[in-house]
């Protein structure tokens, strides 16, 4: 195992060309993986030497966020808090303060998918059977399935997607831009669309459209430390005539899930609320691989949507 700390972007790209290269950002996900033998013989590529990846810049077309910006920096960033309070609201629910101090936004977006059969020591996995994601040939959660069902667990991605963030990906082959929604794929073993040698160079956050508001709900057992058992962001825009609504879900699939509703009136009808809940629940496929089971997590979708729409004043109070 070795380590490098490039100080030039070009050096970084060369390091990343190494087949076993692993970006070491905050390390809060990677280091436990190393401890458990889930990553073998990596070349650790530190981002410490590249201050340009730690910048937050407001540009005319979008806010540019470097991948190595720490979660706590984003939470404390005043201008961002004013434009997108949902981001701070979400990020402050990640891990504990110690994780947010070193954990980065790029690291959060690239957080490996999680599963009770995968996030285990080599001893544990040897005893109970290796899984598709590491060393085995079946998914222990869904043995008949051909794919891995480890769960996307990064709260940050859920909120950023609701804010329509886009990513600039960079490699020696060049730059490309993807939406955050497209960045994730429904395959727990290979859930992010990063090509060999590529990394998240920037996160682009569009300036908030008119009448934008958003909120985030996190299902978890404890108020600290825990990954989301379900993460749900609700975002809405109102241009004076029409409302659009977007529900982004995480923690219930290997990728992000989204339900969008357009051409709505100012307030939602009870039927529309039910339809939103049904659509989200239909998409979500929580499995028996997290602390609370699939049924609670599915029910919480309905609960979060109802609470969120209420909080955002999108449901008209009944006339007295």
């Amino acid at each position: 195992m070795s380590y490098c700390q490039p100080t030039q972007l070009s050096d970084l790209l060369s390091c990343l060309a190494h087949p076993n290269a692993r970006i070491l950002a905050g390390g809060t996900d990677l280091i436990p993986h190393l401890q458990m033998g889930l990553v073998e013989d990596p070349l650790l590529v530190s981002l410490k030497g590249l201050p340009e990846l730690k910048r937050i810049e407001a540009k005319p077309e979008a806010i540019h966020i470097g991948p190595a910006v720490t979660l706590q920096t984003l939470i404390d960033h005043k201008p961002l808090r004013e434009i997108y309070p949902v981001i701070g609201q979400t990020l402050s629910q990640i891990g504990a303060l110690q994780h947010r101090q070193v954990g980065t936004i790029g690291g959060n977006l690239c957080l490996d998918t999680r599963c009770s059969w995968f996030n285990q020591s080599a001893f544990w996995r040897e005893s109970l059977g290796f899984c598709l994601k590491k060393g085995g040939d079946i998914c222990q959660v869904a043995p008949k399935s051909k794919r891995c069902h480890a769960v996307l667990s990064c709260d940050g991605a859920i909120a950023l997607a609701a804010c329509q963030a886009r990513l600039v990906l960079l490699s020696r082959a060049g730059k490309r831009e993807v939406s955050l929604m497209e960045f994730y794929r429904p395959n727990g073993m290979d859930h992010i669309d990063l090509r060999p040698g590529e990394f998240i160079y920037k996160i682009l956050l569009p300036h908030a459209p008119p009448g934008f508001q958003a909120t985030y709900f996190k299902g978890r057992a404890r108020q600290s430390f825990d990954f989301p058992l379900l993460g749900l962001a609700i975002a809405t825009q109102w241009d004076g005539a029409q409302r659009t609504l977007s529900f982004v879900l995480g923690g219930v699939e290997s990728c992000l899930l989204q339900v969008q509703m357009q051409n709505l009136d100012s307030f939602l009808t009870p039927e529309q609320v039910q339809s939103a809940i049904k659509s989200c629940q239909r998409l979500a496929r929580p499995m028996e691989n997290a602390f609370y089971g699939p049924s609670w997590r599915k029910k919480m979708i309905a609960s979060f949507i109802a609470q969120g729409l209420q909080q955002m004043n999108l449901i008209q109070e009944d006339a007295p």
């Binding site: 380590y3 070491l24 280091i31 436990p32 504990a96 303060l97 110690q98 101090q101 430390f225």
Partner: protein, 156 residues
């Protein structure tokens, strides 16, 4: 392959060769004999190894030693020189110490809070200590100890 590493710990420079995978916690405990940072889980799930890096609480088991270069690292051993830090006195006097295994990390997390915000309230204490498990006290006396140093509500 060992890499050269230079750390600034409690105001002293330490230089040596470390494995890339060696965590800051291992270097502090094994090389510098600073065993105040405790190893409770090695995976960032208990907070017993909390140290301050540039004044911020960080779990030393989740930071590679090489990544801690060019920072100021403070461990519990630096807190008291001739006299105990007020937080240490408060922990002793309020009965916030039982087995003591979480104490160094708890004190440092609390120090980061009070250094930044002397007007903290109970909810700030809880938020600041939410990354530090204590298995003995039920947290009651830890909250009492830290709250005894609050300068009260922010005015204006």
């Amino acid at each position: 392959m060992p890499n050269p590493c230079r750390l600034m710990v409690n105001g002293e420079i330490w230089e040596g060769l470390v494995d890339p995978f060696e965590t800051l916690l291992e270097v502090l405990r094994e090389r510098l004999d600073l065993t105040g940072a405790k190893q409770g889980c090695s995976q960032g799930e208990c907070g017993a190894c909390t140290v301050l890096v540039d004044g911020n609480p960080v779990m030393a088991c989740l930071m590679l030693a090489l990544e801690a270069q060019n920072t100021q690292i403070e461990t519990i051993e630096s807190l008291a020189t001739q006299e105990l830090h007020p937080l240490q006195i408060a922990f002793v006097e309020k009965g916030a110490v039982q087995c003591g295994f979480c104490t160094p990390g708890m004190v440092l997390s609390a120090k980061a809070l009070i250094d930044k915000n002397p007007h903290f309230q109970e909810q700030d204490v809880r938020a600041a200590l939410a990354g530090n498990h204590c298995r003995c006290t039920g947290y009651t006396k830890i909250i009492d100890a830290v709250m005894s140093l609050s300068t009260g509500a922010k005015h204006g």
